[in-house]
Amino acid sequence: MIRFDNVSKSYPKQNRPALRDVSLDIEKGEFVFLVGSSGSGKSTFLRLILREERASTGLVHVLGKDLARLSNWKVPHMRRQLGTVFQDFRLLPNKTVAENVAFAQEVIGKPRGEIRKAVPQVLDLVGLGGKEDRMPGELSGGEQQRVAIARAFVNRPMLLIADEPTGNLDPQTSVGIMKLLDRINRTGTTVVMATHDQNIVDQMRKRVIELEKGRLVRDQARGVYGYQH
């Protein structure tokens, strides 16, 4: 699903590379936590998977494709098989819940009939059945994140990338979101989630990848957040 071979990434005008010689494999259907302090390279790691950035050296394979050799015009097609969720939800404030979700399908040219079927389904799945016509501003943070997850999942991606999805939510709401991500993972979708939330990582007991100053320092199946914090 995802393979990093000796991947390094440096940004211009920065002495220290953001990622240094990272190698790892993530298999189909896995649920992976990506942990590490701010500036450890988590964001760069995710951006490389999304091909927002290209590796300076080393190879990044996502969904079997070598991203260095993927031409620019094919990138959108690759991204259609990925879903992304962010800490700040990134919903469109002037569209309803259903329209926000439908937007993700409209802009890749899905036929209207398909959209009309898929949107209520995925809203039911995330537990927002009956709130189709609400505006994002009327919803709680947890509900907004559910909309964002519905939008990321409506195209049935192979891989879901979540960048601190619970970062803005209280612990109780976070648990609900994690249950939802777990449910999505059980449908066969690979989930990679960057997080700072110690409780969540410790409870879920999934694979944990820890980055520190750009290096891969821990890759542990059924791991916990860390030992000293």
Partner: protein
């Protein structure tokens, strides 16, 4: 491509930037109206050339008895003699470039003059014996004027050889200058229009950065992401082109047929017809559509990450 989705996005974009859109429409309309006007002006010049060059002659003015007092050496011996006239006529007929030769007496010249100037003060001072006899020579190729001029200019009894085209050339060069001026102003307006479009696209890309960001993440093609911006610019440009077409049609209507009604007042000139205007409209519309679209797509490269 879902047409309805794209159209609604364009509508939202245009309304959000209403003032900017209006500025784009006006500047595109003005520049294209000037462009069309310049095209029509050059066509008018060509039409007039065709019309006039058929009718103009090379005139060989012959000396009359008054010319002896002037310091023109070829007229030094007073009025032209019959023998000289016959010789000139014979020589003209021998030249292969000459199509027809028409002899005009001083009396005929006087009548024509009277007709043209009527009862003005100048006309009253002129008498028939002040007028010159002349040969009106029609050439097969009006450009060959110089051949006739050099053959007859210094001949005894010839006062002056004049190409009537000279008078027209002044008019044509004036019209050409107007056309060039219109093109220069058009170029400036077009630059302004393009800069406005670039700015509009920048503002519009900024105000829609949420949407485009999400589109990028869910795998929208760059074509799909850029389309609304380009269509916005193209639509505004097309409106501008349509307004320009309106200007051209109204211009022809009010300058030539009605209003100023030049066609009635200046009957010596053949004016361009409606068909000349109509044939320019598709070009004006096409430029109105394409230039803003190109400007927008160039601006997007800079202001929109895809």
């Amino acid at each position: 491509m879902r047409a309805q989705f794209v159209l609604s996005e364009i509508g939202v974009g245009l309304r959000r930037n209403l003032t900017m859109t209006f500025a784009v429409i006006v500047s595109v309309a003005l520049s294209l109206a000037l462009f069309g006007g310049a095209l029509l002006m050059s066509q008018q010049v060509n039409t007039m050339k065709d019309f006039w060059y058929d009718k103009v002659n090379v005139s060989i003015f012959l000396c009359n008895k008054n010319d002896a007092t002037t310091n023109r050496s070829s007229c030094g011996k007073g009025a032209v003699t019959d023998q000289q006239k016959q010789q000139i006529q014979a020589d003209l007929k021998k030249m292969s470039i000459v199509e027809t030769v028409h002899y005009e007496t001083a009396e005929q010249a006087y009548k024509l003059y009277k007709e043209q100037y009527g009862d003005t003060a100048i006309a009253a001072t002129i008498t028939p014996d002040q007028m010159q006899e002349s040969y009106r020579v029609k050439l097969k190729d009006p450009e060959k004027y110089q051949v006739v001029a050099s053959a007859f200019a210094d001949r005894e009894g010839v006062h002056q050889v004049r190409d009537q085209r000279d008078i027209l050339e002044n008019l044509f060069s004036l019209m050409n200058a107007m056309r060039v001026a219109a093109l220069v102003v058009m170029a400036l307006m077009l630059v302004i229009a393009m800069m406005l479009i670039v700015n509009t696209v920048r503002v519009s890309a900024f105000s829609r950065r949420r949407e485009t960001g999400i589109m990028r993440l869910v795998g929208s093609s760059s074509f799909y992401i850029q389309m609304p911006f380009i269509m916005e610019a193209a639509f505004a440009g097309l409106l501008g082109g349509a307004v320009a077409c309106g200007f051209l049609l109204l211009g022809r209507y009010f300058l030539i047929d009605n209003g100023l009604a030049l066609a009635d007042k200046v009957q010596l000139i053949e004016f361009i017809g409606w068909d000349a205007v109509f044939t320019k409209l598709p070009l004006v519309l096409a430029i109105g559509l394409l230039m803003p679209a190109i400007a927008a797509s160039l601006a997007l490269r800079k202001y929109l990450k895809v």
